[in-house]
Assembly symmetry: C2
Homo-oligomer: 158 residues x 2
């Protein structure tokens, strides 16, 4: 899986704390990662409609909807793409004992097994929202952590 997913999720959680546009450069410095490459991930989020990009002097990225309406699955799909990880090449239709196309109308047993597993994975990710993540972080760390992040994003001092 693309490593940019981790960055994107962290950025969405951070954006939860502030209602103002935050530049990609600021998010990059917060996490100490490559600014140019994180911009690429944010563009993907914008294309997927999860964040809205604002140009100009005080521009940046803002969430387009409430954090409890954005699931982790939404972010993963935005970065990785909607196509499934397992692709069936229908090798049962090849070779000397190839199955007839009529018998291949339904997906084969192997394909269905992979699809079911991927569906379980997807459902698990769909059940967790960005709001859930922010709440968990707030619960498990010092109460002043999130406000500190919020203040830093508005006025970065580094």
């Amino acid at each position: 899986m693309s490593g940019g997913v981790e960055w994107a999720v962290h950025c969405c959680v951070a954006l939860t704390e502030v209602g103002r546009p935050v530049p990609a450069a600021t998010l990059a410095r917060l996490h100490d990662v490559s600014m140019s490459y994180l911009a690429k991930q944010m563009q993907a989020l914008a294309r997927a409609g999860l964040v809205r990009s604002v140009q100009g002097k005080s521009g940046g990225y803002v969430l387009t909807r409430a954090a409890d309406l954005i699931s982790v699955l939404d972010i993963v799909i935005a970065i990785e793409g909607p196509e499934p990880q397992f692709v069936c090449t229908e090798i049962r239709q090849r070779g000397p004992l190839a199955a007839s196309p009529e018998e291949c109308l339904r997906a084969c047993a192997i394909h269905r097994t992979m699809l079911a597993a991927e569906q379980a994975w997807r459902e698990s990710l769909r059940g967790v929202t960005v709001a859930d993540l922010a709440a968990t972080v707030d619960r498990e760390s010092s109460p002043e952590v999130l406000p500190a992040i919020r203040a830093w994003l508005i006025a970065p001092s580094d």
Copy 2:
């Protein structure tokens, strides 16, 4: 996900039908795929202990245990490796507001979310065995399909 997983699972289902060693070249011709590359996948299955390689004139690959004791997850792990798809780089410990190492003893909320989803995926694959796949194929296709494969693997005519 590596495309070789599909080939490996198909090969395991095919090996279910015959108790004799089957050369990689025969399996490759059955599915009309690259002989050299399928050999690589079979080597991975052998390293994982799912199949046993027999050398010499009438050698090949045989399953090491009953088909109902080999799960699809076993095959996926043998090909793809045991490491999880999502890797956490702990970016919460980097940047100007880095979390202290003491507070990072437990995995972060994002990491745990990804781990849980991957666990669901793994459990789904663990619940399906090669014997299940063979039974399903036998049920959903003509009854003479599997015997035909068995006969062809013993004496390939192509």
